[in-house]
Amino acid sequence: MRYVCQICGYVYDDEKEQVPFEQLPDSWKCPLCGASKSDFKPEHKERETAEVTVNTEAADMKKLSAGQLAAVCTNLARGCEKQYKPAEAELFNELAAYFTRITPAINDADAETLSRQLQEDIDSYPDVRAVADRNQDRGAARVCVWGEKVTRMLSSLVERYLKEGEQMLADTDIWVCTVCGFVYIGSNPPEACPVCKVPAYKFEKVEGRA
């Protein structure tokens, strides 16, 4: 049997390894991206997507929420930076800060509720992907591929934290890929991002280590 990492695509082939996948300890990690054993799935077990129906009301620009607009504005700020337009980037960042400030709070959030939220996202990606495909929108399909992998990693890490607690992060750093959002635990960032393939210098360390 072959098992595939749902985050980076690494294949664990029972025939080529000493230890069958099922017998690996739960603490085993993907050698490429650090994902947990539970992030591996047997090869070729495709989920069937039923015909997806979409309520197109949510497409209306006038209905965008503060949270969505914050992301629109930081995205456009980054677009301006890439075009070497620092003044425009700064203005979009100021609009983004305004929207972040007025985004409503979510009360009583904890790691468990966040974990459920991430799982819901993982479950909705295949439907969005189906809609992207039937519209032949490869840009939207790419967003689904990257976003689903990164979300799986986030979910896997939050789950691990819920099991292992503070010791999981006591002696190590946390890195975020500034292009796709992939999160990596380790003393150094990976040579290339397992999701979007950018080089290590695009990773940023999360500060505040005790």
């Binding site: 456009l76 609009l95 985004t103 976003g147 934290y161 959002g181 999360v206 505040g208």
Partner: protein, 161 residues
């Protein structure tokens, strides 16, 4: 398509070939940013640069690929969910005094924003100077979400882009 040269300071190794080849002295500046007023877009500097540090960037970008309503609707909803995740992570990070959890939640907050940015880019907001961005800024100025919306900044952007 009219183009201008821009130098990526991160890649530039200061080999200075671009200084020798520019017929208008546009590449020789005290802040290393190529002078757009002098640059005529001939492309000599980009061809000469040994580090691939100069791009010839269009002055006007083509419109983004059109997006269907159903793709936009799905992506918007996904972005909302990502924004909710970001807010949760931010609040958990703020409330906790556990250093590991705080860092992990800061990472999730950042990551969820990056994913949402990417989603919104594909939902019609790819280009700062595109139609989607213009319509949005105009809409925000005529119907500000709250009384303290910085309309001045939005107006400034409309003028510049």
């Amino acid at each position: 398509m009219e183009r201008k040269a821009v130098r990526n300071l991160r890649l530039c190794t200061k080999d200075c070939l671009c200084l020798y080849v520019c017929p208008h002295g546009a590449t020789d500046t005290e802040d290393s940013i190529i002078d757009v007023d002098k640059c005529t877009g001939c492309g000599e500097c980009a061809a000469a640069c040994p580090s691939g540090a100069i791009s010839m960037v269009p002055v006007q970008y083509p419109p983004q690929q059109p997006k269907t309503e159903e793709v936009k609707a799905c992506l918007n909803e996904l972005a909302q969910s990502k924004s909710d995740g970001e807010v949760m992570a931010r609040e958990i990070a703020k409330a906790t005094d556990k250093p590991g959890l705080k860092r992990l939640m800061k990472a999730v907050e950042r990551s969820e924003r990056l994913i949402a940015e990417d989603i919104m880019r594909e939902a019609g907001f790819m280009l700062p100077q595109g139609d989607g961005s213009h319509e949005l800024l105009e809409e925000l100025i005529s119907n500000p979400p709250t009384s303290d919306f910085p309309s001045g900044k939005a107006g400034e952007l409309l003028e510049k882009l």
